[in-house]
């Protein structure tokens, strides 16, 4: 890919990397990181086309709601059971993914789910993403009950 093509695709926020720690995510952080640079008037005019359309943006609240519903539906009232965990993680990701694709937005999605028994063990997760900051986004949801933790991450990459 030649340099000119890369800059056309990536717009002004070239190849910016973001990393965040799943344990410490606050919704405000996404808003902060979403507006990092000054655009030239030409770029701003081009971006307006995309930013005013909710149909083509990654909406964190909407995705967060979908995730919470999927987790509740799949493991809501249950206690950690080694024999069923496999089935639960699969059904959480599948439900999330099907609800997300129903949104009909021009995105590719990656959904990951971690379920951990509450045993006093420490768990730390982190992700780093190399994408287009203006159009792509992610959302992480932490859920817990008395016997387990569930962490779901959704990454949306615009086509």
């Amino acid at each position: 890919m030649s340099k000119t093509q890369v800059s056309r695709f990536k717009s002004s926020v070239d190849q910016e990397r973001r990393h965040f720690y799943s344990e410490e995510i606050q919704p405000e952080v996404f808003l902060l990181l979403g507006n990092p640079v000054q655009l030239t008037p030409d770029e701003a005019a081009a971006m307006d086309e995309y930013q005013t359309e909710d149909e083509t943006a990654f909406v964190v609240e909407e995705v967060s709601k979908i995730i919470k519903e999927s987790v509740e539906a799949a493991i809501g009232g249950n206690a950690y059971q080694h024999s069923r965990v496999n089935q639960w993680t699969t059904s959480v990701v599948e439900q999330c993914l099907s609800q997300l694709s129903k949104l009909g937005k021009p995105f590719k999605y990656i959904v990951t789910c971690i379920i951990m028994q509450k045993n006093g063990a420490g768990l730390q997760t982190a992700s780093a993403c190399f994408w287009d900051n203006t159009t792509d986004g992610s959302c992480a949801v932490r859920w817990e009950n008395k016997s387990m933790y569930c962490i779901v991450n959704v990454f949306g990459l615009s086509i």
Partner: protein, 114 residues
């Protein structure tokens, strides 16, 4: 751009990514025991390093790298991933690593840029 539409160059090479990730994990936590004060730093530097190495390859991909480090105390941990993408061009690779005191699971997702 035509050169990237060639089938063999176009798909994600997961063995290569696997090798890169293993190297990064070894270099960051290879010799250490689980330590709550350091784990934050470790996860950040593993994802950072993997991402840098992957981007250096210069391929037309967007990358997502996730890393989970868990202390060995007998707790059960289950992870699952599901992806809605172009199966011909996109790919992923997951590496599980452990030592005496901890587990480390790193996943790399590569999504082709059109």
């Amino acid at each position: 751009m035509e050169e990237y539409h060639n089938g063999s160059e176009g798909s994600f090479n997961s063995e290569e990514a696997d090798g890169i990730v293993k190297e990064c994990i070894e270099s960051v936590v290879g010799a250490d025991d689980y330590s709550q004060s350091q784990v934050n730093k470790w996860t950040a530097s593993i994802v950072e390093r993997c991402l840098t190495q992957l981007v250096k390859q210069g391929k037309p991909y967007k990358y997502i790298v996730t890393c989970a480090v868990m202390q060995k105390t007998g707790a059960g941990l289950h992870t699952a991933n599901s992806c809605y993408w172009d199966t011909a061009m996109d790919g992923s690779c997951t590496v599980r690593w452990e030592n005496r005191t901890m587990y480390c699971v790193v996943s790399v997702f590569a999504v082709a840029i059109a």
